[in-house]
């Protein structure tokens, strides 16, 4: 941990560690194909006393995507040359925090892992040492800390009304909780995760942060850290508080719509790539919210699928903007098409899932129209920055090394590959949704 991250071997040790982590998660995923969930109780305590860890389809999907993102970003940065002592260690910390968060079955433990990953992210966000960036990082830290403490207050409230911290027990006992307290708790949890995801009214910290950050850091923040928000909303909203989610579905739907419209409109009016992608992230978060508000097996599966595809797109785009040379523009276009939902990319199937969700909703015409307009807008702004970056401006600076371009091109091929052969991804999303109550078809 105290090894200097700027040395080549330390950075590569980090890459190897993340590759092993990814391999271990893949093994766990294969084991999960035959059973519903794998559980472990810490410290060998009997069930109900010790803190539970529970790996199920929903957790493994998010853990796999987050750790692939971290692995890719670390690889990219190791090839570029790490410039900060602590970078490899922080990425590994983040990997540990995120994995724990996706597998824990205890709400307080969830908070601890959540803080572990957030603290690594706060430190990561100042990586690069640019003057402007520190301000963005400070706003990010303060706003997200406020979100974390709100979540902590919600944990206290949940413990007070249910007398337990175990997610399964909370879900059962929440049926008897007084409606007023239940709604208050649900709103607090929603705000806490809304801040993390960067939804419309809680988004203001996001653009300054993504604009100044180094590509690898922006990729990590958008592709791995934002998953906390979407996973938290799905796990807590759909998994633990489904009644409250249904009760507030109109508000959630409206916030999702506001996010989509606001994010797309702002992205259209910007020229700097980082800023466009940041506002695009706000818009994309809105789709997840819309899918969650509609709910049911179709909606939950769409929310999971959309989170995964969105993480992939953002990593591809953020890593591609820093590079110069042959094929980089093509990789960027693949990412842009995937954001807009043009076949044959993974984004196409995410959009299809959204359309299916729209058809399952109460007012299908409105939602389908909104998704269509949102996709069209995202196509326009993605193409606009592509034009601005790769056609109009001179390609300044030397060509990036071939290996680094290969990483980005490989990522683009994955996005296309998932668009050509989407069955495993779709099946995984459906399985993840089936974990939730009301998510079983």
């Amino acid at each position: 941990m105290f090894a200097d991250g700027r040395r080549r071997w330390v950075a590569w040790a980090g890459v190897v560690a993340l590759a092993l982590h990814l391999a271990a998660l893949l093994v766990l995923g294969f084991e999960l194909r035959s059973v519903r969930a794998i559980e472990a109780v810490t410290g060998g305590w009997p069930q109900g006393v010790g803190i539970r860890f529970r790996a199920d389809a929903l957790g493994i999907v998010f853990a796999l995507i987050s750790s692939s993102v971290l692995f890719t970003a670390m690889l990219h940065e190791a090839l570029r040359g790490v410039r900060s002592r602590a970078f490899p260690a922080l990425v590994l910390f983040l990997a540990a925090g995120l994995t724990g968060l996706f597998f824990t079955a205890d709400v307080f433990n969830f908070f601890v892992f959540f803080e572990l990953s957030m603290i690594s992210a706060y430190v990561l966000s100042v990586y690069g040492e640019e003057r402007k960036q520190i301000g963005g990082a400070l706003i990010f830290a303060v706003v997200n800390l406020l979100g974390s403490f709100l979540f902590l207050i919600a944990v206290g409230a949940i413990y007070h009304v249910t007398g337990t911290l175990d997610m399964r027990a909370i879900a059962i006992r929440f049926d008897d909780v007084e409606a007023a307290s239940a709604i208050m708790i649900a709103v607090t949890v929603f705000v806490a995760f809304g801040v993390k995801l960067g939804l419309f009214p809680f988004h203001f910290w996001l653009p300054p942060l993504y604009t100044g950050a180094r590509p690898a850091v922006a990729a990590i923040l958008a592709g791995a850290l934002a998953n906390i928000g979407s996973y938290g909303l799905i796990r807590f909203g759909a998994g633990i508080l489904p009644n409250e989610l249904r009760f507030g579905s109109v508000v959630i739907l409206l916030l999702g719509v506001a996010s989509i419209v606001y994010g797309s409109a702002q992205a259209l009016s910007r020229r700097a790539v980082g800023e466009v992608l940041a506002y695009s992230a706000i818009g994309q978060a809105g789709y997840i919210l819309v899918a969650l508000a509609v709910g049911g097996p179709v909606g939950y599966a769409a929310a999971v699928l959309y989170s995964v595809v969105n993480a992939l797109n953002k990593v591809l785009l953020f890593l591609a903007i820093g590079l110069r040379g042959w094929l980089v523009g093509a990789a960027f276009v693949v990412g842009g098409f995937s954001v807009a939902g043009v076949p044959p990319t993974a984004g196409f199937f995410a959009k299809i899932a959204m359309f299916q969700t729209g058809l399952a909703a109460e007012r299908p015409v409105l939602i389908v129209a909104l998704i269509f307009v949102g996709s069209a807008l995202s196509f326009v702004y993605m193409f606009q920055i592509y034009q601005h970056e790769y056609w109009r401006t001179e390609q300044v600076g030397p060509e990036s090394s071939r290996v680094r371009r290969a990483v980005v091109v490989a990522l683009a091929l994955v996005v296309v590959g998932l668009g050509v052969w989407p069955e495993p991804m779709l099946a995984l999303a459906q399985e993840a949704a089936a974990v939730l109550p009301g998510g079983r078809p």
């Binding site: 803080e115 706060y122 430190v123 520190i134 303060v142 403490f149 206290g156 413990y159 911290l165």
Partner: protein
């Protein structure tokens, strides 16, 4: 007791939120600390029960204080401590590179810098 605690938590949270809205970054950090303590008190209040310390052996039939909230609060205090240190170091970094910790000053400076940049571009 619960009413008293709720009032204290409410006042603490309000004071913290007020401090966070100040332009001075040190006050923002202090506001964060106050809010974190409001959260810690909420945790304590969530399992408030009177009784003996829950240390083995426990006599039958005697009430015992809830140890879980205390453990949670301890963890939360430690996390809050770490986060405060981190925030203060960030503020110090801001001071080291901008020589001010006032957000109004910072935005003035940034506006001036970007204006100068634009003027240079025009001249070019």
């Amino acid at each position: 007791m619960i009413v008293l605690l709720s009032a204290v938590i409410g006042i603490l949270f309000g004071a913290g939120a007020f401090l966070m809205l100040k332009p001075d970054l040190f006050r923002v950090v202090i506001g964060m600390v106050v809010i974190s303590n409001a959260a810690n008190l909420t945790l304590m209040a969530s399992g408030l029960s009177r009784g003996r310390a829950p240390i083995h052996p426990i006599a039958e039939g005697e009430p015992v204080a809830d140890p879980l909230v205390q453990a949670m609060t301890l963890t939360a205090i430690v996390i809050g401590f770490g986060v405060t240190a981190l925030l203060l170091s960030l503020v110090y970094r801001v001071y080291a590179s901008h020589e001010t910790v006032d957000l109004d000053d910072l935005s003035h400076r940034e506006a001036r810098v970007s204006q100068e940049l634009e003027r240079e571009e025009v001249e070019i």
